[in-house]
Amino acid sequence: MYYRFSAVTQRLVGAAASAAYSPQKADGLPVHLKRGVPDRLLYRTTMALTIGGTIYCLVALYMASQPRNQK
């Protein structure tokens, strides 16, 4: 057992909050970045793919909208 109630006083021992991540800590971080590094990595990857993709999409749509030469 990692945690238990101590003998006479019945205090909970051995259940300290994890140092890595506390969801309710008032650290000003929004929920999508709360865990720090892994959240930032995923966020930046998503942003790169969506924004880069949107630019690529606009270029592709611009090219597709050019009239083809009649044969």
Partner: protein, 261 residues
């Protein structure tokens, strides 16, 4: 320290809605590029970014509810309304495809031989695999209800067993449908019969996969103690969606498979 004087959840600013909209743009224009210009780069980008946005947005909702405690009864009521409205919109989506089926099958044109099924089409026997699929989905409706009762009664072991069984039944249905698709004597290109059959059953199959995924996420959350016996709306939403998928199948079976054969 300022506290809000209401029970609603004012969410943190989030990038997922706009990224999700961008992902939808990439997916739809990607479909055009794939259909007409033989390029699947944009479509792949769109689907990957859609997946990333969905994962992170829903991960954040789990953080806000289970770990930060923002889902008051008021918030939960709003989520219930939202899920009901979403499922209703999906029902209308399928209504369109049923309309298309009846439009073509109630008055078959001379090009089809004036009959339904059209001349030359050998429909699937509704009493074989489709009937088994009906039994599978009905059974999965029973097991998901069993899972729900187990959650409200605090019976962890039964809840995990019942939800696992529901997911396995869902996978079994999908596997059988995939096999049926592979073995069918007609294709989507075989007149309006093929179009209505594969588009309606295909979208249903997609919804079965979505529903199974939702239930699988619920299973992980159940195992990790996210749900309490009073508060488990994520599971209820998944169960509602699953029952909806089951009902759509029953309509598909009775109309397209049975009446239409």
């Amino acid at each position: 320290m300022a506290h809000q004087a209401h029970s609603y959840h004012m969410v943190d600013p989030s990038p997922w809605p706009i990224f999700g909209a961008a992902a939808a743009l990439l997916t739809t224009s990607g479909l055009i590029m794939w259909f007409h210009y033989n390029s699947s780069m944009l479509l792949t980008l769109g689907l990957i970014s859609m997946l990333l946005v969905m994962l992170q947005w829903w991960r954040d909702i789990v953080r806000e509810s289970t770990f930060q405690g923002h889902h008051t009864p008021t918030v939960q009521k709003g989520l219930r309304y939202g899920m009901i409205l979403f499922i209703t919109s999906e029902a209308f989506f399928f209504l369109g495809f049923f309309w298309a089926f009846f439009h073509s099958s109630l008055a078959p044109t001379p090009e089809l031989g004036g009959q339904w099924p059209p001349t030359g089409i050998k429909p699937l026997n509704p009493m074989e695999v489709p009937l088994l699929n009906t039994a599978i989905l009905l059974a999965s409706g029973v097991t998901v209800t069993w899972a729900h009762h187990s959650i409200t009664e605090g019976n962890r072991k039964h809840a995990i067993h019942a939800l696992t069984l529901t997911i396995l039944l869902g996978f079994y249905f999908t596997a059988l449908q995939a096999m049926e698709y592979h073995e069918a004597p007609f294709s989507i290109a075989d007149s309006v019969y093929g179009s209505t059959f594969f588009v309606a059953t295909g979208f249903h199959g997609l919804h079965v996969i979505i529903g199974s995924s939702f239930l699988t996420v619920c299973l992980f959350r159940l195992i990790k103690f996210h749900f309490t016996s009073d508060h488990h709306f994520g599971f209820e939403a998944a169960a509602w969606y699953w029952h909806f998928v089951d009902v759509i199948w029953l309509f598909l079976y009775m109309t397209i498979y049975w009446w239409g054969s």
